[in-house]
């Protein structure tokens, strides 16, 4: 290759077009998987620096196996047991309560002393006191084509929030069109309750406006709430050692995951109370619960073996589904409507400008690699007569340029709350710049 020859041959242009096509079409989902792996790794790296602004306003109540055994009851819990549980919770006057239980079948029909009306009575009583009660809803017409949804008696005493949707991948929508109309999801419904007393910029006017907003690319936090220690034994929960050490730990785990126990288990981020905690009767303990629950946005969910409501968190592994709603709400409380999101697709294709940006980054690496090859070829052709540009004497300046562009790009995307570029892929591909150096090294060895 001479100094005057074009940077790329026809064959290389063709190869570039194939790479471009592969990046756009994403056959076998390899590119998407790589993007997800990169985004999840970045979430793990920065989870320890996630702000606690939202955490201070949220509490999660978990109905677990221990609670059922302690009360000698069963799952699904009888309505009398549930009415006790909810009146214990609501007596502490939380700001709003979302119940992530689907009351689709009345399992005590014909027994008024055990029926769903017992629970409806409790909901009705506290709703009159101004506590917003949001109940899980599938958005389907109950009974039509065998579709399940909330019982009428309970739907009348609460507000519906959508807990079932599709078409958003692992993103969390704010509102979705359903057979019952446009419905908001729990995170936005609870955020609206919060915004009644606090200024919230750019809050969508209604569910239809919310539907036009992009879904949340949820960022998970890591550090436990400071109050958690007052209510539960957290001795076994892993602690963090700052962003730098966490970065190094995550990097080593990501690189050497095959050599050790790569699977992480952690305690959930949101302040968590067990349903058993609500049974306390001593004045001191009740005062503590009042301090933890009053005016909070409370989410009630279940963690019962074999009930199946588990979600995948990049930071925690598998956790009860209620924490997904809690973390989406946390993102809204922390970032407002400037939450992290993916850019909109271009021309109804599954391609957005971030994909094009990634391809441009790939192009930059290819360009630098070709420029290096040409510089080396010219140098070899003319011998030491030709003075090589300092930039091309070593691949390190080019590599630093790529890394610099990558860092600047990532920072800019973070500032405008757009999901990050595929950092891992860019880092790996940037190593091709060292190809000739490595070849020369091994040739010298031989």
């Amino acid at each position: 290759m001479s100094a005057k020859s074009p940077l790329f041959s026809r064959w290389q242009y063709f190869l570039g077009a194939v790479v471009l096509l592969l990046a756009v079409l994403d056959p076998f989902g390899i590119s998407s998987s790589s993007n997800n792996a990169s985004a999840q790794w970045l979430n793990r790296v920065f989870a320890s620096s996630y702000q606690s602004k939202g955490q201070e306003k949220i509490a999660v109540i978990v109905i677990d196996d221990a609670y059922l055994m302690r009360n000698n009851t069963y799952w699904p819990m009888p309505y009398s047991e549930q009415s006790k549980l909810f009146k214990r919770l609501l007596a502490y006057k939380p700001k709003a309560v979302f119940v992530d239980l689907l009351y689709s079948h009345d399992h005590s029909q014909g027994e008024p002393a055990q029926g769903s009306q017992l629970l409806a009575n409790v909901f009705e009583r506290y709703r009159r006191q101004g506590i917003a009660l949001l109940l899980a809803n599938t958005g389907q017409s109950r009974g039509e084509d065998g579709q399940a949804n909330t019982l009428a008696s309970l739907a009348e005493t609460s507000s519906p929030t959508l807990v079932a949707w599709s078409g958003f991948s692992d993103k969390y929508p704010l509102a979705v069109e359903t057979p019952l109309g446009v419905m908001e999801t729990p995170a936005l419904s609870l955020y609206r309750e919060y915004c009644r007393d606090h200024p919230c910029a750019e809050l969508p006017n209604d569910a239809r406006a919310a539907m036009n907003e992009p879904p949340i690319a949820i960022q998970w936090g890591l550090n436990l709430a400071p109050e958690q220690i007052s209510i539960a034994d957290i001795a076994h929960c892993s602690t963090t050692n700052g962003v730098i050490l966490n970065f190094l730990k995550q990097l080593s785990q990501a690189v050497f995951w095959k050599l050790g126990d790569s699977v992480q288990v952690r305690c959930p981020y949101s302040l968590t109370l067990s349903a058993s905690d609500l049974e306390v009767s001593t004045p001191e303990d009740r005062a503590l619960l009042a301090q933890l629950l009053r005016d909070r946005l409370v989410l009630v969910g279940a963690n019962i073996t074999s009930t199946g409501d588990l979600v995948q968190s990049p930071v925690h592994g598998k956790i009860p589904g209620i924490y997904l709603h809690a973390m989406a709400l946390d993102n809204l409380l922390t970032l407002g409507m400037q939450y992290d999101r993916e850019p909109a697709n271009l021309l109804n294709f599954e391609v957005n400008w971030l994909d094009l940006l990634e391809i441009s980054l790939l192009g930059l690496i290819a360009l630098l690699k070709a420029a290096h090859a040409r510089s080396l070829a010219a140098f070899n052709a003319c011998g030491s007569v030709l003075q090589r540009s300092a930039f091309f004497k070593s691949p390190i300046p080019s590599w630093l340029l790529v890394i610099g562009v990558l860092i600047a790009l990532s920072y800019w995307l973070h500032a405008i709350h757009i999901t990050p570029v595929n950092v891992l892929a860019a880092l790996m591909l940037s190593l091709v710049l060292f190809g000739e150096k490595l070849e020369a090294f091994f040739e010298r060895k031989n």
């Binding site: 069963y74 799952w75 009398s80 009415s83 006790k84 076994h236 952690r266 959930p268 306390v280 074999s306």
Partner: protein
């Protein structure tokens, strides 16, 4: 001999039963909810209008945690969360171990069966 012992025991336990009759010592909520036996709200009573002296509990519904008392000549049900009872069950904070997440690759390929309370 046996009859005397039975009488003595009966007298003893009736005294215990009398002394253990629970009373409402204080109202903690404002307003206090007056309910029916199913926990449905009938009306609300401002805290300032509640009786200042201890009120004897007429009935205790343990299933719903409600107590029946007589207020102004009317029998009503109250939520135990709104009251301080004497004697009352002491339940302390269990201080449970904070649950850990499950490993990302953990699996449980089963569905919960009917609980003990279902007659199906």
């Amino acid at each position: 001999m046996t009859r005397t012992a039975v009488l003595l025991l009966a007298a003893l336990f009736s005294q215990v039963a009398l002394s253990a009759t629970p009373t409402v010592e204080a109202f903690l909520a404002d307003p206090v909810a007056l309910l029916d036996e199913q926990g449905k709200l009938q009306r609300e009573l401002p805290l300032k209008d509640t009786p200042k002296n201890p009120l004897p509990v007429l009935q205790y519904n343990e299933t719903l945690e409600l107590v029946q008392v007589e207020l102004s000549g009317q029998k009503v049900w109250l939520d135990t969360m709104d009251l301080r009872l004497n004697p009352s069950k002491i339940v302390k904070l269990p201080c449970q171990k904070m649950p850990n997440s499950l490993k990302a690759d953990s699996q449980n390929n089963s569905t919960i069966g009917f609980g003990a309370g279902c007659n199906q």
